[in-house]
Amino acid sequence: MIDIQALTFTYKDETAPALENITLSVPEGGFLGIIGPAGAGKTTLARAIGGIVPHHYPGDYYGSVKVDGLDTIDNRLTDLSRIVGTVFQDVDSQIISSVVEDELLYGMENFGIPHDEIPRRMEFALKQVGIESLRERTIASLSGGQRQKVAIASVIALRPKVLVLDEPTGELDPASSRQIFTLLKTLNEEYGITVVIIEQKIMLLCEFARQLMVLDHGRIFVKGDTREVLSHAEELEALGVNCPRVAYLSRLLEKETRETLPVCVSIEEAEAMVRGLMK
C-alpha cells in the first residue's frame, strides 16, 4: 500500500536533510508504528506519505513515494488526499469549523461525496469514534481528547485507505490514549485501513503496532516486526528510545533463567510468561 524507495528530502532553506535514504514498504492492512528522538524526521515522513512533502513544503527531493500505486510527485495533493487521511500533531490548528457536525461535513462536501450518502458516512464516522452525542456541540466546548476524536472522525468520514497520525495522543491521559489506539485497531482489523502512527508512548505502540520503525537523524535505525525490533532494546536505549517495562522484564528473566523467552509487549503476555516460569 505504501512503497518508499530511497527517499531523501531536504527542506528548502535548510542544509541538513530531514530524511535520508528511507526505504520502506507497508502492506495493505498494515499497522506501522514510528518512534524516534526529537528531530529524527518522523513528522517529515508522515508528510511525505500524504504528499504534503513536497507539495506543500517544497525542498530537494530524491527517491520515490508510492501510495496505492500513485506516485506522490506526479499526483496532485488533492488526489492523494482521497487515499491518505492525515491527522496532524496540533489538533486545534487542524479543526476548521466551529461545530462538530460541520467539521465532518467539510471534507465530504469538498470531495463531492453524493449528498444522499453523506448522512450514512457521518453516522458511521461518529459511531466508530464514539462521539455520536457530541454531534451538535461546539468545538470550543470540547476537551482535548474529544477534539482529537473529532479530528480523527473527520478523516475517517472520507474513507481513506491509509490513515497517517502524527502523535495523536500527545495531550491525552492514558485512558483516552488507549481508547484512540483501540479505535485504530478496529479500523485496521475490520475495515482494512492501513495505519501509520507516530507516537512517543512506547507501551501502546508495542502493544498495537505490528511493525515498528525507529528513526534517528533522518535515517532508519531499525525496522521490522514489533518483537524483532524490541530485541534490539539495548541499542534503542542508547539512542534514547525506551522499551516497555514488560519487554525489559522478559529480557532480564531470559538472562537469569538462561531459557529462551518470548519478548512480551503486554501485561497479559508477561503474566503468562511469569506463570510459566514458576510452574
Binding site: T78, S93, I96, F111, R137
Partner: protein
C-alpha cells in the same frame, strides 16, 4: 473576552433565520444608525439590538457585549464632550452641543457593533460562509479567509491569556492594576505569539488542503439555505428601519 465571537447553540427564531437575512439585518441596522441624526431613534435602534439578543436566547451574552462596548464608549464620550467647542457651556468647558454630539457618537458606536458580534453568537461560522458562497456567490476563498479569521480571534486571546499567566508565575507583574504598565509588558511578548500564530495558520492551510479545499465549488455544500417564511418579517424590519431613518 475568551467567548468573543463564539457560537452559542440554540433553536430560537433568530438562530433559524437564513444567515444572509442575519447579515442583511446587521447591515440595515448599521445603515440606519449612520443615516439618522436623531438621538431618540438611535436609542430605539439600541432597543432593537437588545431585543434581538433576548429573542435569540442569549441575554447574558448580549449584556456582556454591551458592557464591553460601554467601556470604550465612556472613553469616547469624554473625549468628544471635551473636544467640542460649539454651543453654550454647561459646566467647565463642556457644552450642551458637545454632550449631544458625544451621546450620538457613542450610541452609534454601540448600535453598530452590537449586531456584528451578536450575529456570530447565533450563527455557525460555517453556515455563514456556505450561505455567502451559495446565495451571494462570494468566491469560497474569501469566505474561508473570513471564517478562519473569526475562529482565530478566541484562539489568539486564549493563547495570550496563557502566556500572561505563565509570565505572572515567573514574577512579571501582569497582575498589576495599571493598564498602561500592563500594555508595556505585553508588547515584548508579541513576537513569540506571532511566531506561533504563523505556524498555526500554516497548519490550518495544510489541513484544509488535504481535505479538498481546492475542489470546493458553490454547489459543494451539503446544507441548503433557502429563504423561509420567518425571514419575511426580518426583511420587513430591515426595510422599516431604513425607511424610518430616512423619514426622521
Amino acid at each position: 473576552m475568551r467567548n468573543l465571537f463564539q457560537y452559542v447553540p440554540g433553536n430560537s427564531l433568530i438562530h433559524r433565520l437564513n444567515p444572509i437575512t442575519k447579515i442583511v439585518l446587521t447591515i440595515a441596522i448599521c445603515v440606519a444608525a449612520f443615516m439618522t441624526d436623531n438621538l431618540i431613534y438611535l436609542a430605539a435602534l439600541l432597543g432593537v439590538d437588545l431585543a434581538i439578543g433576548i429573542i435569540a436566547g442569549v441575554p447574558k451574552k448580549t449584556l456582556g457585549i454591551l458592557k464591553g462596548l460601554l467601556k470604550i464608549a465612556a472613553f469616547l464620550f469624554i473625549l468628544q464632550a471635551l473636544l467640542t467647542r460649539r454651543g453654550t457651556p454647561v459646566f467647565w468647558i463642556v457644552t450642551d452641543t458637545g454632550l449631544l454630539l458625544a451621546g450620538k457618537v457613542v450610541l452609534r458606536l454601540v448600535v453598530v457593533c452590537m449586531p456584528l458580534t451578536l450575529v456570530l453568537a447565533v450563527t455557525r461560522v460555517s453556515d455563514l460562509a456556505n450561505a455567502l458562497v451559495q446565495v451571494v456567490h462570494v468566491p469560497y476563498k474569501y469566505a474561508f479567509t473570513l471564517t478562519t479569521a473569526i475562529r482565530f480571534v478566541p484562539q489568539f486571546l486564549e493563547e495570550m491569556n496563557d502566556i500572561m499567566e505563565a509570565q505572572t508565575a515567573r514574577g512579571i507583574e501582569f497582575d498589576t492594576r495599571n493598564s498602561f504598565k500592563k500594555l508595556g509588558m505585553i508588547l515584548p511578548l508579541c513576537a513569540p505569539l506571532l511566531i506561533s500564530s504563523v505556524r498555526r495558520s500554516d497548519q490550518t492551510a495544510v489541513a484544509a488542503e488535504v481535505r479538498g479545499f481546492e475542489l470546493r465549488t458553490s454547489s459543494s455544500g451539503y446544507k441548503r439555505y433557502p429563504f423561509r417564511l420567518c425571514d419575511l418579517p426580518a426583511a420587513l424590519l430591515c426595510a422599516a428601519l431604513i425607511v424610518l431613518a430616512a423619514l426622521i
